[in-house]
Symmetry: C2
Amino acid sequence: MTVVRVAESKTDETGSCDVERYLRPDGQDRYTISEVAAFTGLSAHTLRWYERIGLMPHVDRSHTGQRRFTNRDLDWLALVGKLRLTGMPVSDMVTYAELVRAGDDTFAQRRALLEATRLDVLQRIAELQGTLTVLDGKIDSYAGAARAQERTGA
Amino acid sequence: MTVVRVAESKTDETGSCDVERYLRPDGQDRYTISEVAAFTGLSAHTLRWYERIGLMPHVDRSHTGQRRFTNRDLDWLALVGKLRLTGMPVSDMVTYAELVRAGDDTFAQRRALLEATRLDVLQRIAELQGTLTVLDGKIDSYAGAARAQERTGA
DNA sequence: TAGGACCTTGGAGCGCACTCCAAGCAACCC
DNA sequence: GGGTTGCTTGGAGTGCGCTCCAAGGTCCTA
């Protein structure tokens, strides 16, 4: 199985957008659950759970009932991965997935959801930068204290 | 009860450092658990739990056994609040608290812990900035789609 | 001295996001 | 045909960080 690196702009359910693609074999479009687990870093358990809770669009099955994921599914999982990094709760991601399934009439709601998430992310970044100030102050004070201990031979 | 706003550099167990102080009454140095809950935004439950798990230095008691927090405790809780914002697990905060209790020989370990946390924070900020790119791309695509729908009278 | 607000404890419960288990079916290799 | 590996399911379990409960003691005001 050849795995190639692909990281370029893509087309998904809402038109082109920059979500970095997971590694995937060239030209293939049917993956087993363990292949997808390897590409995405998610466990097979988690992939099944995502499907159960409605976070995946309908996933194809083989004639014996085994899941066969497509490149579209990988694209979706790449987006989910990004949303997960934002700290968006899984329940909100499910809501988003439901809006996508509901069709193009839900663009405004989807956009509102993403804009709310965007504000959360900006706030979180600001918080983290605030913690960096404190952390750096503390680290400096320990460094200074260590130097003082050395000088006094402690 | 007079509550004044104080936000200045402070002196704590490691020397001066910039942790913003919680609101606190002027000149007072003994607070009940519900006062501390009001200042910090933590629940009384959480404050008791922090003490139980070893995340607080020893907290004074009244003659009848009720907790009486001091300004020092408020300073410590302000630092804990910042560490919590970094995403540091509570177990690591407990480790840090134990190092503080162990005395000045642990400066190097405390510093290492904070530097590891600092790197985590930097990485998290980078991740979040990556998600902003995706979010903005998506939001733009929905905005564009909405304009297109309007033009076609959909 | 009564009433209500506030405090104490150990331990149980909760919400989130997984994570794993048991029992069974399917595919493939020797 | 037997063995190994991988897949299926519903449901139970896990770890984290709280959050709450019951039963009782304390503080404050009138």
